[in-house]
Structure formats: structure tokens, C-alpha cells
Amino acid sequence: MADYETVIGLEIHVHLSTRTKMFCGCELSFGDEPNVHTCPVCLALPGVLPVPNEQAIRFALMIAAALECDVAERSIFHRKNYFYPDNPKAYQISQYDFPLATEGRLGDVRIHRAHLEEDAAKMIHVGESGRIHGSGASLVDFNRAGTPLVEIVTEPDLRDAAGVRQWAQLLRTTIRQLGVSDVNMEEGSLRVDANVSLRPAGSDELGVKTELKNMNSFRFIERGIEAEVERQRALLDAGETVDQETLHFDPGDGTLTPLRSKEYEHDYRYFPEPDLVPLAPTEEMLREAREALPELPAERQARYREELDLPADAATLLAGDVEAAEYFEAALGAADGADAKTVATWVTGELAGALRQSGSEDGPAASKVEPAALARLVAMVEAGKVSHGSAKQVLATLVAEGGDPDTIVDRDGLGKIGGGGELEAAVEAAIAAEPEAAKEVRAGNPKAIGRIVGAVMKQTQGRADGGEVQALIRERLGA
């Protein structure tokens, strides 16, 4: 069997969360009654004209900035012509050979272009499967018609399904942080289509590509691509060729079906949109777009590593999750003098674990644990006021009830055993209870100390600090 390299490029559509549509003043909505957000313009009545939405342009400029794209001094809109009931003008206003943005990058993937366009109406096929085949009628809901979209096309830089999933998640997080879109695949504000081809390993030429559509979750994207790679591999191994076609992913059974409908074989007869003047963003608009960018994952990760000296995996984890990152920074801010690494570890480790254990799906920001409370708890551990083990108990309580650590420690008697002889007494008792272990420790077997430590912990309900206990035991045993 030959060795193949998979080559994948993505085409992503992002719904912008502007207040109104791309070319008219209708409000954008999701889930409302059909056809309540329409007007002569988005219904394409005779005589109407499009007027571009300034906010959509600004949002698109922010996306372009976040993806490090070159923004065209002048870009124009084009008409993309085809007949379909979800396309009321029988042309979509889009951008063709003079798009808003080109040549960017996000992570390891180069961005080929990004442009503005309007979305089609939503069609509902009345029948059993909800698919067009076998349906008796089709209904058109124009609420969605005219929604501003940014289409992002990558270079074919991706090499496997898992990589696609990871990168798509990075793109989603990035765009979400810009505040320009909900980028929610289930709701349709993010759509990812993949172009997949195989070529012999080591070859420079691209193989025949197929287009995969309708994968509306990250899991489906990964599965869809894996299925397609297998399908193409099998064809090529059998000496056959891959047909260039569009395949529709069925989430029900995970299969890919070729689409034979006419609208995908179209000559779109693109020509410049005469009703719209060219887009020429000013220096000020470009500057404002750049300045409006929040700190994006790549930057944040770098800052965490360089300024806070966080280890790579903690930095990546936090940078990829804006809510966790903000939580972490809030906690760090509240904990004067606490070590950033320690706070980070508590957020990504202990707190995440405690939340999982409680059965919660929430991230730290959504939990009942206030950042200041976590910070205080970490400080208490560092100051020796509470043992690590007890702190975890406190944390579990915070997750369940909220509140502040000092109160919980006092109420539940979880303070660390320190001076006052309580600890010494416990150590004595433990040594007495484990004479075999004591003997082994004296004999030079350090591992045996564990049983004595365990006994102390049990006795003190974990309120002692493990290190201190060990030191005391050794002292007692003269080891």
C-alpha cells in the first residue's frame, strides 16, 4: 500500500453579530417566527438597493487584523448569480477577485483570504428526513437572508483530521474573543467546510480535492474528514481516481453523500456590483480595528511564558480558554505576592479537578469559587495555615457553596496542625501504632515512613502538612 499525505484546506463562514443585516436595516435574530425580520431590500422587491452595514465592515476589519491579513486599499463587491428560492435577488452580493483581506496566518495555518458577503435565506423541506429528497414542499424563511458573513479561506496547510479540529477550535476561540460573532456551530453562526485531497508522500502536486459540507460540530468535522480520507485512500489504492465533487455529511450515520444538485455546477457569472461603491477603509478604521483587538491566544500564551514564567502546557491551556485566563488573572491580582505558577496550577489543576468531581460542566469563571477566594486559599497553603490536603477539602466546599476559605476553615476545623503539641502528640501516637514501620525507618528504609505519615494524617484528618510530619517522625526516630 502506498504512502499518502493528506492535504486539507478549510472554508469557514462566520455570522457577524451586528445588530442589523449586511445590506438593510432589518434586525438580526435567531429562533424567531419565520419572516418577521424582512423588508423590501432583503426580500428583493422590485426597485430596492443594498446599503452596506458599517459595523459589519468594522468587524470584518477586526477579523482581518486578528488573522494578520493584508487589508486591500480598495476592495469591491461582486454579484454571484444563481437561481434558488433561498437567494431572493437570484444573486448573492459577495466579493470575488478584490476581497477585503488576503495573506494572513493563524497558528500554523496560512490564511488565503477573508471577505464579506451576505447569507441566504433558510429553507425548510417539509418531509420525513428534513432533506430535500422526498420532501413534498419547501418553505423559505427570510429572517436569515442578508445576515453579514465573513468567509475565511485557508491555504491547504492542514494535514490530518485532529489537526483540523484543533485549528478550527483555535479559530473559534480567537474570533469569539473579538466579540464579533457567537461562532456557535449548533446555531449556525460558524460553518466549516473542508477541501480534502490525498497525494503520494513526498509529492509537491495537489491531488483531486473533494469538498465536505454540513459538518456542524468539531467532532463531526474530525469524523467527516477521517471518513473521507479513508474513502479516497481506498479508491487510490484500488487504482481508481477521485472525482472532484461535493459531499454532504450526514450527522445521523456519519456518512458522506455526493451532492448532485444543479446549483453546485454553476457558472456564477461574477461581475462587479454596480449598486455599491468600492470599500476603501481609512487609516483610522484600520487603526481602530487593531486597537479593538483584545489580547489573542497566541499573544497571551507568549506573555504567560515570558512575563509570568508559566510552564508551556499551563500557558497553552489558559491562553486557549479566555474565561479561564481571565479567572486566572483575577485570582493572581487578588493574591498579593502569590506565585503565578502556583496560582496557575491551582486553576488548571486542583480547581478544574474539583469542578469535574462535583459533576459540574462549568469552567472556573462560571463556578461559585470567586477568584479572590481561590487566591486566598492558595495564600493560606503557602503560609502554612492549611495543609494541601485540607485545602482540597476547602475547595470542594467552595465549589459546592461558594463563600470564603477563612470562614470554611474555621467552621469545619480544617486549620493546619501547627504548634501547641497537637502534632507532636499525633506523631508519637502514630509511631506507637506502627512499630514495624518505625523499626524499618530506623534501619534505613525510608519508604516505610509512609505508613506512619498515613497514620498521622488519619489521626489529624489531613490537617497536617505532609512534609512537616515526615520531618517530625524522622526527628523522633533519629533517622
Binding site: 423590501p40 428583493a44 422590485p46 426597485g47 446599503v51 452596506p52 448569480n81 437561481f83 457569472r269 454596480p274
Partner: protein, 471 residues
């Protein structure tokens, strides 16, 4: 009664303002006149004039008027009543100009004779065996035929100026972007403009004054900086007029030629200077226009698919419904242009046709701009012929297209031009003495200068003739 119908719109407006003329009575007089329409100029006429306070106007049926049938001369919009009113018409209404009626037109503004209407041809009031010109034939015939005091139409390749010429009235196409296109059913988006059809130049100026201006609903509208002034000029001293040498005169009728030359002499008599401007690419205007306009139209008319409004020829299958609806709803010329336009945009042909036509367009625009460096105006006969007989050119689309020879360069360049009656002449084949038009073209946003020159020339020409039975 008959006297009040003789007033120009400006005169009538002033009389109303002075309290000398009752607007309601005035409106009724025109309603009655319009009811006597034997020219098939109107597709819809107003009923009562509730609260009319100004000079009523006839509006080409290409303008959307809320709740009032708007057909664009096509069967595919038979019975269609828009839920909104075009900006240009709304501005008129806000200025107190009430709607008198909707006028007949070539279907979707495609034509030069008003023989392409799905609602029958319009007849020329000067000779009912002849065409009034097109596509604003109904508006022109109404004004010339005493059925309306003034009117508005649209001009894409000459559709205001040419019918004005054939009907012996004034017609003007302003600079592209002067008047909003919102609500004006689109034919060719980069060429279409709204404009006045009137009995004299002052009325045309008044209509432009009311309608021009930037509109938030039309991204391509800019208005005219400084606005429009009513013309007052009495001579043409120091103004320079160029005749384009690049435009051949060999297709021009003898009578038209004679009237044109007489008008040039009048210009000189008024102190104007004559010269020549090359306009080397203007002769390719027809070719460029008849690629660009149909291309844009093929996209603009694609929305008439039977799904949301207008005619629907039902079918079990989507493509069949599209095809039956459009086959039944569109006339031959519209279908011809949609096919031409689709072809010109299709993959493999775009560069040779649409792409090339746009380059030629740029050249024509440059030619005109160059001419306006040395001259104030470029002048031509508006139309190569006087009104021709009904049916004379319907079998020869190309012959029909050549009617636009002198009028297409200006929309291609986006520049303004006016047509005023210059006299009467006999057609080449013999016949009655019927109107000839004279075209004055100027640089972009040069409307005031054009109106001024036209005003002075109009006075000197002294064209007073009306069709038999009118006035």
C-alpha cells in the same frame, strides 16, 4: 379651464402659491384631460385629488408607488402593488406635487419606441401612426399630448431624451448619482437615471431641483453640490459648443440634419462659439452599451421568478416554475437582452464581452472629459430620425438600437445631457412635419450650465408648435 392647462408647471405653481389658482380645481382639470387619453399613455390614473396642493405629475410606471399598481410595462408584474414609494417620487409628493397617473413604457425600460410594452404601444400625439420613442414613451406622449403638465421618466441609453425629441418636448438625463434610484425598478444599474420630461427648460430645472440629492437608501447617489438654480440666461456669449467629429452623421435623416445645422447657426447668433471635438470612441457606444446594459439587466431581472411576487406559472417542479413564469411574463425584447447579457457574463466570454465593453466605456468617458477641457458643451441631434412609423423597426433589433446612437455616450460616461425641440421636419420617406430634438451635453454635475444654455437657446428657437388638437 383650457387656459389653466396651457400654463407651464412653473407658472401654475406660482399661480397656486399666489392664491390665483385653486389646486384642487387644477388637479381635476388635469384628471379630466388625462381621462381623454387616446394615446395609451397611461396605465393607471389617479382618482380624487384629496389635499392636492401642487402641480400634478405623470410618473413612468417604473417607479414604485405605494399601494398603486406598478408594472414596469411588463406582464410579470401585472397587478403588483409595491409596499413602498420610490425616493424620487416621495420627494415630489413631499414638495406638494401629487401623482396624476402612471405612464406606459417599454417593458423594463428596454426599447426606443414604446412598442415593447405588454400593455400595447403608445401613440405619438403628432401622428398616431408613429411611435413616441422610448422607453419613456408614455411620459413623453402625455406631456406632448396635453394629458399631463409634466412627467418623470428614466434614461439608461436615451430613454428620456429620445422620446422627448420625437414628441417635441424637453427631456433631461442628469449626472449619474444626482437623483436616487431607490424604488426605480432596475434595468441597468450603472446607467439608469431618473429625469424630467417637460414643456420647457424651466420646468425641467424645477423638477431636478425637487428630486436631486443624496439618499441614504442609494449608495450611488450623491446629489448635485450647490443644488439646481432656475435658469435665467439670455445669450450664449463666450460659451463654447463642440460638434463631435467622431460621431458619423451619415445615418441621420435630412430633415434632422437641416434642423441641427439651423440650431448651430442660432447658437452662433446668440454669441456662442462652435468647434469640433474628436470623441474617437463614441461611435462604439452602441456596442458597449448593448453588452453592458443587458449584462446588468440579466442579473437585475433574475429576481422575477414567481416565488415572492408578480406572476407565477405554477408547476410541481422548481425549474419548470421558473421557466414557465419567465417565459410567460417577459416579452421578446426582454428575453433577447437577458440572453445577450447572460452570454456576455458567462465563463469564457466575460473578458471578450463584458470586460472589453467596460474598457470601451472608460475610453468614451475619457473622450467626453477631454472634450470638456476645451468646450463647455458637446452638441448633437438627439435622435438620427424623427418619429418613425409603428412597426417600422420592430423586426430589426439592430436598427432599433441605432436610435440611441447619439444618446448612449453620456450614460456610459455618467454625464448629463438635455434634449430640447429644435424645429419640425419631414421624415426621409415623406410624411408630416414632426419634431426634431437638439441635444446639449455637459460635464458631470454641470446641470446648471446646461439648463442655462438650453434656456437661452430655447427662447431663441421659439418652438411653439403643438400637435393638432392640443392647446
Amino acid at each position: 379651464m383650457a387656459e389653466m392647462l396651457e400654463l407651464t408647471a412653473l407658472q401654475a405653481g406660482r399661480a397656486i402659491d399666489a392664491g390665483d389658482l385653486a389646486p384642487g380645481e387644477y388637479f381635476d382639470a388635469w384628471r379630466e384631460a388625462a381621462a381623454g387619453d387616446e394615446l395609451n399613455a397611461y396605465l393607471w390614473r389617479a382618482g380624487d385629488a384629496e389635499g392636492a396642493r401642487g402641480v400634478p405629475i405623470a410618473v413612468k410606471d417604473i417607479f414604485c408607488t405605494e399601494g398603486i399598481p406598478t408594472t414596469a410595462g411588463s406582464k410579470i408584474l401585472e397587478g403588483y402593488r409595491p409596499p413602498y414609494t420610490a425616493t424620487a417620487v416621495r420627494r415630489l409628493q413631499e414638495a406638494g406635487v401629487p401623482l396624476l397617473g402612471k405612464t406606459n413604457m417599454d417593458e423594463f425600460a428596454m426599447g426606443s419606441s414604446n412598442e415593447n410594452s405588454a400593455y400595447g404601444p403608445v401613440l405619438n400625439p403628432w401622428d398616431r401612426g408613429r411611435v413616441p420613442g422610448g422607453s419613456s414613451g408614455g411620459s413623453a406622449a402625455a406631456v406632448a399630448g396635453g394629458l399631463a403638465p409634466w412627467a418623470i421618466g428614466t434614461d439608461t441609453g436615451g430613454s428620456i431624451r429620445q422620446p422627448a425629441s420625437l414628441c417635441g418636448i424637453v427631456g433631461m438625463k442628469p449626472t449619474y448619482g444626482a437623483i436616487s434610484r431607490y424604488g426605480m425598478i432596475a434595468f441597468a444599474s450603472s446607467l439608469d437615471q431618473c429625469g424630467p420630461l417637460t414643456r420647457d427648460v424651466s420646468d425641467a430645472a424645477l423638477l431636478l431641483q425637487i428630486m436631486e440629492g443624496r439618499d441614504g437608501c442609494d449608495s450611488t447617489s450623491v446629489g448635485i453640490e450647490g443644488g439646481i438654480e432656475l435658469p435665467q440666461r439670455e445669450d450664449l456669449n463666450g460659451l463654447r459648443f463642440a460638434v463631435p467629429s467622431g460621431l458619423a452623421m451619415d445615418g441621420v435623416e435630412a430633415g434632422v440634419q437641416a434642423s441641427f445645422e439651423a440650431t448651430l447657426a442660432t447658437i452662433e447668433g446668440l454669441g456662442g462659439e462652435l468647434g469640433e471635438a474628436p470623441l474617437p470612441h463614441a461611435a462604439h457606444g452602441i456596442s458597449a452599451y448593448y453588452v453592458i446594459a443587458p449584462a446588468e439587466a440579466s442579473a437585475n431581472l433574475a429576481r422575477y421568478d414567481g416565488v415572492r411576487y408578480g406572476l407565477r406559472e405554477d408547476s410541481e417542479e422548481l425549474s419548470e416554475m421558473y421557466e414557465s413564469t419567465r417565459a410567460a411574463g417577459f416579452g421578446r425584447e426582454v428575453k433577447r437582452r437577458i440572453m445577450l447579457g447572460t452570454y456576455a457574463l458567462s465563463s469564457g466570454f466575460y473578458d471578450a464581452y463584458y470586460g472589453q465593453a467596460q474598457k470601451v466605456r472608460t475610453k468614451i468617458a475619457e473622450d467626453l472629459n477631454n472634450a470638456f477641457e476645451s468646450y463647455d458643451f458637446v452638441v448633437t441631434p438627439t435622435s438620427p430620425s424623427v418619429a418613425f412609423e409603428l412597426g417600422a423597426k420592430t423586426d430589426d433589433p439592430l436598427a432599433m438600437y441605432l436610435n440611441d446612437y447619439f444618446t448612449v455616450p453620456m450614460p456610459l460616461a455618467g454625464t448629463p445631457a438635455i434634449s430640447i425641440p429644435s424645429g419640425l421636419a419631414e421624415p426621409d420617406g415623406g410624411g408630416p412635419q414632426i419634431p426634431v430634438g437638439f441635444q446639449i451635453a455637459g460635464p458631470a454635475f454641470g446641470e446648471n450650465a446646461i439648463l442655462d444654455a438650453a434656456f437661452a437657446l430655447e427662447k431663441a428657437i421659439g418652438f411653439e408648435a403643438r400637435p393638432d388638437g392640443v392647446g
